[in-house]
Symmetry: C2
């Protein structure tokens, strides 16, 4: 159980023969959430043996082609595979405007519904919530409206200490209350504090996805203390001017955001295709924030 993220693509706009455009899949206790969907995502999902049918939600950071061109093929394949459950796509309103005619033309008679949810890219928003997980957006600064995503597990229940509950003869009906932290008051009188009967709840983890942006103080605030931060690092520091001009970040800048936000771990990605060897970007980031990893395609990171 817990959350992991599998990198499907981590290159910037021009794919290379080795690296695909952006896509990641988050596995939250068996529920799969797709983040961005560059060209070739469906092939990458297959290569990484992700169960297609378990993806019900797709989150699109912004409308540059390298983050969305995999959607028509993915939707088409869902149709061919006989999917019936709704597919929810979260993105700015233009995504529906530009994608709907393509779906309608190429995937007539889909056996499932494609439901678009419009993101307001100017504000922080809670865009998804279930019993265990919340997904919120936050604005970043790119050439076009772009958002980051913050995935946060909800607080979990305390674990029952079975041995101690047996000893105190706790009735079954009381267990849900114990999990919520209440003490036990036996019918025969007395008082057993919750901490005697339960173990602490497992930690609730968080993951922030932040691509195609200049480094931002506002992002530092939003991602404060997350367990894992994916931050774009399109260039190295010697191209800081180009990074600024194109609304991107350098590896060092990504690391500074991670440091200032006090995150536990940093993944860097969205590399310019000029870099064949990525180790210099990793070194640059690690000088500032040692617990950095390359978002290598095909690798699953436990959060």
């Amino acid at each position: 159980m817990g959350i992991s993220v599998t990198i499907l693509g981590s290159n910037s706009a021009l794919p290379t023969s080795e690296r695909n455009p952006t896509a990641q899949v988050l596995n939250a206790s068996g529920r799969f959430f797709l983040i961005d969907c560059g060209e070739g995502t469906q092939m990458q999902l297959r290569r990484n043996r992700v169960h297609f049918g378990k993806i019900d939600h797709v989150f699109i950071s912004h409308l540059h082609g390298d983050h969305v061109f995999g959607l028509p093929g993915l939707i088409s394949s869902f149709g061919l595979l006989g999917r019936t459950n709704d597919l929810h796509i979260h993105g700015v309103a233009d995504l529906e405007m530009v994608l709907r005619p393509v779906i309608d033309y190429f995937s007539r008679e889909l056996p499932f519904k494609v439901v678009f949810h419009h993101i307001n890219p100017l504000e922080k928003e809670l865009i998804y919530e279930d019993a265990a997980l919340e997904v919120a957006t936050f604005p970043v600064e790119h050439r076009i409206p772009t958002v980051g995503f913050l995935f946060r597990e909800k607080p979990k229940e305390r674990k029952i200490n079975k041995q101690m509950c047996d000893f105190y003869e706790v009735p079954l009906r009381v267990l849900p209350k114990l999990k919520k932290g209440e003490d036990f008051i036996p019918d025969s009188g007395g008082h057993v504090p919750n901490t005697k009967l339960t173990l602490p709840a497992p930690p609730s983890v968080s993951y922030a996805f932040c691509t195609d942006t200049r480094p931002l103080p506002s992002v530092v605030e939003v991602v404060k203390g997350v367990d894992m931060l994916y931050h774009e690092a399109t260039f190295m520091s010697d191209q800081e001017g180009l990074a600024y001009k194109t609304f991107h970040s350098t590896a060092r800048q990504a690391a500074k955001v991670a440091l200032q936000a006090g995150v536990k771990k940093l993944l860097i990605g969205h590399f310019s295709s000029r870099y064949k060897d990525l180790s210099p970007l990793l070194s640059e980031a690690r000088e500032v924030f040692p617990d950095t990893e390359i978002a290598t395609e095909g690798v699953t990171f436990e959060i």
Copy 2:
């Protein structure tokens, strides 16, 4: 020199982790022609080290997603690479209708023009011609309007036999006439027959591409005697009913077309993703037409 075809993808609609959707690139003496453009084509072009900038013409057989979803990404990458020469896309009229808005949205300010040429899918048509090559369409029978493509080198000039021309003191200005087959009449009188001064022209080769169709007598006529025929073979014979119903062909039917048309070599492709091992399809086709090969991705076939 000569013509070769490199297979970029040869799977049917559902890509597998091993096989990409349809795309091929024809190399005619250094000019590249792209045939169909399934998702991932730009990555496959890179993996096969095809010089992007040399593709000026793209031919699209029909508007099913697995034959076109690679176009937006390819066009976008052409733009990022600073392409300036026009890109010509040949397809049915709907292709422009559905693709133009996507290009306009995602690739504003392209440094080159995308020129659409509308194919009439109901008739044979000469759709491209240069000094050395002709490309014609022919109708096939699928669920939606679909065409095949016939690439044919024009007749070539005879080769100069330098030694003999020296011996007969042929002036330089006469050589172009000799190449066209004329005899040599020296100013001093006399007559030297062309065959004494030249060698036969190299053969002009032909390639037919024929996907997403039932097997057709009309195709047999069109592809008669071509040097290489690519014919779809989505299924094996035990699925002949399904092939008919979905407007596809079996490996045996593809081989029969090749046999009846007297082609030199057959490539089969567009395989259903149900087939992990393709050798049974090859065996089935070879029983009817021995000179058959699998259109394996990454393989270049000299025509």
